[in-house]
């Protein structure tokens, strides 16, 4: 492991590769990889090129992770603020004034800021945390490492992807500080509310910043996604056929494709909204009378915006969820010391989910006045998704069956993902049904459903990934005791916050309400309990943050392969180097799940780069 020293043989080889790599087909040359301009002297990188404008996928992964964590904390704090209002409506909370100043005069949240907080909370968690923070981190870290590539196909685009994400986060944060307040029309920013500053103060400058933030975000997703797809298609090491890829990489690939196909539609929707806001067009506006004036715009359709938004919006929930499911597959298999059950079915069901996710967007729009027949079609397509989802759930459960389960913090979070995915997925069956959704649309039932299945489940997937690959990222171990504390308190509070919300939703309590729960008999108490769980759950995240930064600097040194995992990332040296492997890239000889083979072998796993033994060659054709 002499990554520190200059290795002329490797570098010479690299530079030759740079010129040839265009014509190199994947699989033919185990070293196929991109070139990086400074390959001859990467040990002399300056602080700026190493930590800031880095083009190394591992560093970019960490940048995504830490930015995502910061945004996550902001989003979480916002939710605690509005939970304080919901739990104890109208009560003065000095802490609110400390943090929010004029938005909480005398410690009572301003109703406009309540909506703004909900909006920015949703936007940050959906986009900045669980799209960029999750995909950005783990696609970047794991695609090259698990496929045996020296870096992404285009490290430069990769760097741009991070910086556009950074710009996007910056704009979103800036919008929190403008005079008229941030966007406050919900994370879906439906026009006309979002188009008319007269209708809501947040639809002024705050909304403009929101739109520019999202545009920058889309650029980030697209540059990132192009890179992930190209890398998976072209830079797999020798022997790494598509059906030998770990399920993580499959999930990241499918996620990237989803993003590439759906985010441009959001860009279109956003641009048209910008035009309506500033150029007097009427894509979404028609027959509006606001603040004493009848607008000239006629002929537009606000519902058109919703079609465009949800054409992204639904795939987006899978963009959030699939990477978590991929991580779960990997972490479950490693720690159950068993192959993932039904590898091919897992890929098949992910592909099915991805395909179906493009033809179900109307389930968010059953009560917009759309044709009932169209509603029937969307009910049908949506309920189809239940089938591949069920396959995944049962395959996860069977993966645990007769395993030898090691309860690492990562494993606990992965089991948590499965539990939450099931709980939240099942209520989806109800919401998919147009006849039932009529009465549940925009109630707390929906808040409960999407938080459990998408929000918390994906958060758990992210945590599973962080605990599992922390040693790979930072060369040190996180503290497991704190990890256990983090897991159990988070699990209890997640269920404590979101499970009771189902019952409020069934009683018809609308979401995005600042107060007035007294009209729904007796839910004031429940609201208080929910808020307490939310506060406890929020506080324990600081244990995680502490553990994260502490371990980054002071944690015990990680061994080469702490979890005895079979995938390629654990064959790289603990200490990072640009190009990942000091010598040749390993060749892959088997699938990633050779755990506990019944072949008299003492080890309970065989790394992917280990050639088949004589016995194996006779026994079975390669996976």
């Amino acid at each position: 492991m002499s990554e520190q020293t200059h290795n002329p043989a490797v570098d010479g080889h690299l530079s030759q590769e740079v010129h040839e790599s265009h014509s190199v087909q994947h699989g033919h040359d185990e070293h196929a990889h991109h070139g990086h301009e400074d390959h001859g002297h990467h040990h002399k990188e300056s602080f700026i090129t190493k930590y800031i404008f880095s083009q190394d996928h591992k560093m970019i992964a960490k940048q995504f992770l830490i930015t995502g964590m910061f945004m996550g904390l902001v989003g979480m704090m916002l939710s605690i603020f509005f939970r304080l209002q919901l739990g104890w409506p109208g009560q003065s909370m000095p802490i609110l004034e400390t943090f929010l100043g004029k938005w909480a005069p005398d410690g009572v949240l301003d109703p406009n800021f309540y909506l703004a907080a909900v909006t920015i909370h949703g936007t940050i968690l959906v986009f900045m945390v669980l799209t960029a923070g999750l995909s950005g981190t783990f696609s970047n870290l794991l695609i090259p490492l698990q496929l045996g590539a020296r870096d992404m196909a285009s490290p430069f685009l990769n760097m741009l992807s991070y910086w556009f994400f950074f710009l996007s986060s910056l704009l979103m944060m800036t919008s929190l500080f403008v005079e008229t307040g941030p966007a406050s029309s919900g994370w879906t920013v439906y026009p006309p509310l979002s188009a008319l500053p007269e209708a809501s103060p947040g639809s002024g400058l705050g909304m403009t910043l929101w739109l520019f933030s999202i545009i920058a975000f889309i650029v980030s997703v697209l540059t990132g996604g192009l890179n992930y797809i190209t890398t998976v298609m072209n830079l797999r090491t020798k022997g790494m056929s598509m059906t030998r890829m770990p399920l993580t990489v499959w999930a990241f690939l499918i996620t990237a494709i989803l993003g590439l196909l759906s985010f441009p539609v959001l860009l279109g929707a956003g641009l048209l909204l910008l035009f309506d806001r500033s150029m007097g067009t009427s894509f979404y506006l028609s027959d509006i009378y606001v603040s004493g004036q009848a607008l000239e715009q006629t002929g537009g359709s606000p519902v058109l915006y919703q079609h465009l938004f949800w054409f992204l919006g639904h795939p987006e929930v899978y963009i959030i969820l699939l990477p978590s499911l991929g991580i779960t597959s990997e972490v479950l298999a490693v720690n159950a010391r068993k192959p993932i059950f039904g590898y091919r079915a897992m890929i098949g069901s992910m592909l099915a989910i991805a395909f179906l996710s493009f033809i179900v967007w109307g389930h968010h729009m059953y009560v917009t006045g759309m044709d009932p027949l169209l509603g029937s079609v969307f009910t049908f397509t949506t309920l189809l998704i239940a089938i591949p989802s069920a396959i995944k759930a049962f395959n996860y459960i069977t993966t645990l069956w007769k395993g030898n389960i090691v309860f690492t913090p990562g494993m606990l979070f992965a089991i948590g993902v499965v539990s939450l995915f099931i709980t939240g997925g099942l209520t989806g069956i109800i919401l998919a049904d147009s006849a039932l959704d009529v009465n549940l649309h925009h109630t707390y039932f929906v808040v409960a459903h999407f938080h459990i299945v998408m929000g918390v489940a994906s958060m758990f997937g992210t945590f599973a990934g962080v605990y599992h690959w922390f040693p790979k990222m930072f060369g040190r171990m996180m503290n497991k005791k704190l990890g256990y504390l983090h897991f159990w308190v988070t699990l209890i509070s997640a269920y404590g916050v979101f499970f009771p919300m189902h019952y409020m939703g069934l009683a018809g309590v609308p979401r995005r309400y600042y107060q007035n729960f007294e009209f729904f008999s007796g839910f004031s108490d429940l609201n208080m309990v929910i808020s307490i769980f939310a506060i406890v759950g929020g506080l324990v995240q600081f244990v995680f943050v502490f553990n994260f930064f502490y371990s980054m600097f002071k944690g015990p040194k990680a061994p080469q392969n702490p979890w005895n995992s079979a995938t390629l990332e654990w064959t790289t040296p603990v200490k990072h180097l640009h190009g990942n492997w000091p010598g040749e890239i390993p060749t892959v000889h088997r699938w990633p799940y050779d755990y506990s083979l019944p072949n008299g072998e003492e080890r309970d796993f065989i790394p992917q780069d280990e050639p088949l033994s004589e016995k194996e060659k006779q026994a079975e054709p390669a996976h």
């Binding site: 029309s185 439906y190 209708a199 027959d287 004036q293 009848a294 006629t298 002929g299 606000p302 519902v303 159950a336 010391r337 192959p339 059950f341 039904g342 009560v367 917009t368 006045g369 029937s376 309920l383 089938i387 069920a390 396959i391 759930a393 395959n395 996860y396 459960i397 069956w401 030898n404 389960i405 090691v406 309860f407 606990l412 089991i415 539990s419 099931i422 109800i430 049904d433 006849a435 039932l436 009529v438 009465n439 925009h442 109630t443 497991k480 704190l482 159990w488 499970f499 189902h502 018809g508 609308p510 600042y514 008999s521 502490y550 002071k554 015990p556 061994p559 506990s596 083979l597 309970d604």
Partner: protein
């Protein structure tokens, strides 16, 4: 301020102390030869046990919440005809998903507990089983097929109720941040409306000969005022832009209203259907057992008419009209008795985020007998009457000297 500073200092100190402590523990563990990445037997056992406990906890929470809240008091049964069907569909769905919830969570957490790490055991390499996978593809598919079919039947009944001549046409008109209900009166037809007809008195922008006259007077007056401010040019540049925009809008508005005027005068439109319409802004009264067709409109942004007790919900979209038909089957009085709550009211909520006091945009709804309904409605003044009064105040003469 000082308090905040102290708080801040305490937090920082706590972090530093925790880090120090952790470092000490870490050293101690290293000295005892423990490896940070290895999970000890006691840790495995403890977490396995907690997993089992959390299964119990999850089920206990489910039972507690369901027993406490899934009942008439908190979630009253539907008070509309299609709502009853919706409720039984919901119950069927709940039975299915509750069953699935119990089976899968039980298997998941039980396996996690049972197969916790044991040095002496080896996991079973079990990579796939086509038969098993076929089972959990086909079984959910069949269950889904049943649910889809049942769902579509109820959906069909909800959205296509059998036609009934007796159906009451009622408009729900939304704006920031209140509701107006418009009853269609004797002719059971809602008069035409346009957003260009809106003014302080005619908030729904209904069209009638009188209303046209009123609106032309108001809008022409406004445009003269704005026109002169713009031409005089005393305004700062920014304000000037605003006023120019306003003028443009007024001109557009005058053109539209003048068109209505022309239609009326040329005899191609009588705009008479609005005359007997009745506007209500305090409580919506509905006759029991009579189908109602709600016509939804909005003045400014998207609102949504949500009547949870009737399982009714539909967006109010500016620029177009949406509908929802239903039949209330339980009077408010009956409901009060059933829930043992003398304060009970049905309510219309706004359920689409629409601005600062969105949460407060609601109206009580009362279901009464047909007789009570008729008596209540006949005491209300009509749109034509109200417009005539306003015209008189403006010194204008009504087109309809005779009461109509």
């Amino acid at each position: 301020m000082l308090l905040n500073l102290i708080l801040f200092a305490v937090v920082i100190l706590a972090i530093i102390t925790s880090a120090r402590l952790l470092l000490v523990f870490q050293f101690a563990a290293e000295l005892r030869g423990k490896k940070a990445h290895e999970i000890s037997d006691s840790e495995n056992n403890m977490n396995a046990l907690l997993t089992l406990l959390s299964l119990v906890g999850l089920f206990a929470m489910f039972f507690y919440l369901t027993a406490t809240y899934y009942n008439e008091k908190y979630i009253p049964g539907a008070a509309s005809e299609h709502g009853v069907e919706v409720d039984s569909l919901l119950n069927l769905n709940f039975i299915v998903i509750t069953l699935a919830f119990f089976i899968t969570q039980l298997l998941l957490m039980w396996f996690a507990y049972k197969y916790r790490y044991n040095k002496k055991r080896r996991a079973t390499h079990y990579a796939h089983n086509d038969k098993l996978e076929m089972i959990w593809t086909v079984v959910p598919a069949i269950v889904m097929a049943v649910l889809v079919l049942k769902g579509l039947i109820v959906w069909n009944h909800t959205t296509n109720p059998s036609p009934d001549k007796n159906t009451l046409n009622l408009e729900l008109y939304a704006r920031q941040f209140d509701w107006t209900a418009r009853y269609s009166g004797k002719d059971n037809a809602l008069g035409k409306a346009s957003y260009t007809m809106i003014n302080g008195g005619n908030i729904l922008g209904l069209i009638s000969a009188d209303a046209i006259q009123e609106q032309l007077t108001i809008v022409r007056g406004d445009s003269l005022v704005v026109d002169s401010t713009v031409t005089l040019g005393f305004l700062p540049a920014e304000k000037l832009e605003d006023e120019k925009t306003r003028l443009r809008r007024l001109v557009h508005q005058i053109r539209t209203v003048a068109e209505f005027d022309y239609q009326f005068k040329s005899g191609s439109e009588s705009y008479a259907a609005s005359h007997d319409d009745v506007l209500v802004r305090d409580t919506i009264i509905l006759p029991v057992n009579r189908p109602v067709k709600l016509h939804m409109r909005s003045q400014d942004v998207i609102h949504s008419a949500y009547l949870p007790h009737f399982r009714v919900h539909m967006y109010c979209v500016p620029g177009s009209e949406t509908y929802f038909a239903f039949k209330p089957i339980t009077t408010t009085k009956e409901m009060k008795k059933k829930l043992n709550d003398p304060e009970f009211e049905y309510r219309l909520y706004c359920n689409n985020i629409c601005g600062s006091t969105h949460f407060n945009m609601m109206l009580p709804v009362r279901v009464v007998s047909e007789k009570e309904y008729a008596a209540w409605l006949s005491a209300k003044s009509t749109f034509a009457d109200e417009t005539k009064t306003r015209l008189a105040k403006m010194g204008l003469k009504s087109n309809f000297a005779k009461n109509n």
